[in-house]
């Protein structure tokens, strides 16, 4: 009986040590593992980039309208076309109310997605969506201030030998430029439309 008790207590001690070790490694793994509560996560719009018409655009230029921001790249065959199609459908359904919303598609692949490449691509989904690009440094800075993640991934079976991993959620900012919430890129457009309608109306 005593042996069993010792064995059980040893198990407890080992489990506690393992938990502590796990907790400590998680704490030391940087931003990914030491994940903040998504509710508390803050995104901020602060950028100066070139749009697909060649015009310089900064976040201040969109004050007074809601900004719906989506990061992606045009060599992306799955997530980005679906995200852009979702945004286009949302804008279509918002109809006249859509005038209060500016959808922005910011590339995380400035090497390939020059403003003119974006001009070929983005308007195909919907006339209201504005594509934004910039130098590699500008995009790095933009991602940093927005607090979004992107990474170039070497991938032999992708065009030019690389693909991009990136934050795929839509970020909504209010007319004062304050972050409001995220929507997932694969959410049903109707859900986003009814949420936006409620917000625009108030």
């Amino acid at each position: 009986m005593k042996k069993v008790r010792i064995a059980l207590w040893s198990a407890v001690v080992i489990a506690a040590a393992a938990t502590a070790a796990l907790w400590m490694t998680e704490r030391n793994q940087g931003p990914v593992a030491a994940r903040v509560d998504p509710e508390a996560e803050r995104f901020a719009a602060d950028f100066e980039l070139t749009d697909h018409n060649g015009m310089i655009q900064a976040d201040e230029d969109f004050r007074g309208r809601w900004m719906l921001v989506f990061f992606g790249f045009t060599n992306c065959p799955d997530v980005c076309p679906l995200g852009l199609a979702t945004i286009a459908q949302v804008m279509d359904d918002l109809d006249a109310e859509g005038a209060a919303v500016q959808p922005l598609f910011i590339t995380v692949d400035p090497e390939r997605d020059t403003p003119s490449a974006l001009a070929d691509y983005v308007p195909q989904f919907g006339p209201g969506i504005l594509g934004l690009s910039g130098s590699t440094e500008q995009i790095e800075r933009t991602a940093e201030t927005f607090n979004i993640y992107y990474q170039k991934i070497e991938e032999a079976s992708s065009p030019d030998g690389y693909t991009m991993g990136h934050t795929s959620s839509f970020l909504l900012f209010d007319p004062e430029g304050e972050f409001v919430r995220i929507y997932e890129y694969d959410q049903a457009p109707a859900v986003i439309v009814s949420d936006l309608r409620e917000r625009i109306g108030t």
């Binding site: 045009t74 992306c76 065959p77 799955d78 997530v79 679906l82 989904f125 990474q151 457009p189």
Partner: protein, 160 residues
């Protein structure tokens, strides 16, 4: 709702007008009917410089497990199955998929945000309203050629 109907009707009329084989939107199966492919569709491409994406579902009506191991398509110099993964931080990335096992009676879906047929080195653009042949390669040696209709660039699913 009406819009959806109108859209569906429109695509149907377009399909009929263009004389597309209706088989493109119906079931397509292997000779012994053990593998059934449904809801194939591809997104229209802009020219040939960027990879195209195609989707479908595969049902295993046989009594043995099979795996979808690859793809071949004349329209693509390099066709493969890729998988999109989105982590809990909302970061999405894409990588070549391993063989996809389909148990007897099971079904797998290639759909946006998950598995997709990635069509690289397009030999000609994917044009809305047209179709192209795509061959699915299975672990038991079955090669099943299906016809994939091309929908608009803004399509979100097999219904457009």
């Amino acid at each position: 709702m009406f819009k959806t109907f109108a859209k569906a009707f429109q695509s149907l009329s377009v399909a009929l007008l263009m004389g597309l084989p209706l088989a493109a939107s119906a079931q397509q199966m292997s000779e012994d009917a053990s593998i059934v492919v449904e809801k194939p569709w591809a997104r229209a491409s802009l020219g040939t410089s960027r990879p195209g994406g195609a989707y479908l579902t595969v049902r295993n009506e046989g009594s043995e497990s099979i795996s979808l191991i690859g793809l071949r398509a004349e329209i693509s110099g390099m066709a493969s199955i890729h998988e999109t993964r989105t982590n809990s931080d909302g970061v999405s990335s894409m990588a070549p998929a391993d063989d996809i096992v389909i148990p007897p009676g099971g079904m797998i879906a290639l759909e946006p945000g998950g598995y997709h047929a990635m069509l690289m080195q397009l030999q000609s653009p994917l044009v809305e309203g047209e179709t192209f042949p795509l061959t699915l390669l299975f672990s038991d040696g079955t090669e099943l050629e299906i016809t994939v209709p091309v929908l608009g660039i803004g399509a979100r699913g097999p219904e457009g």
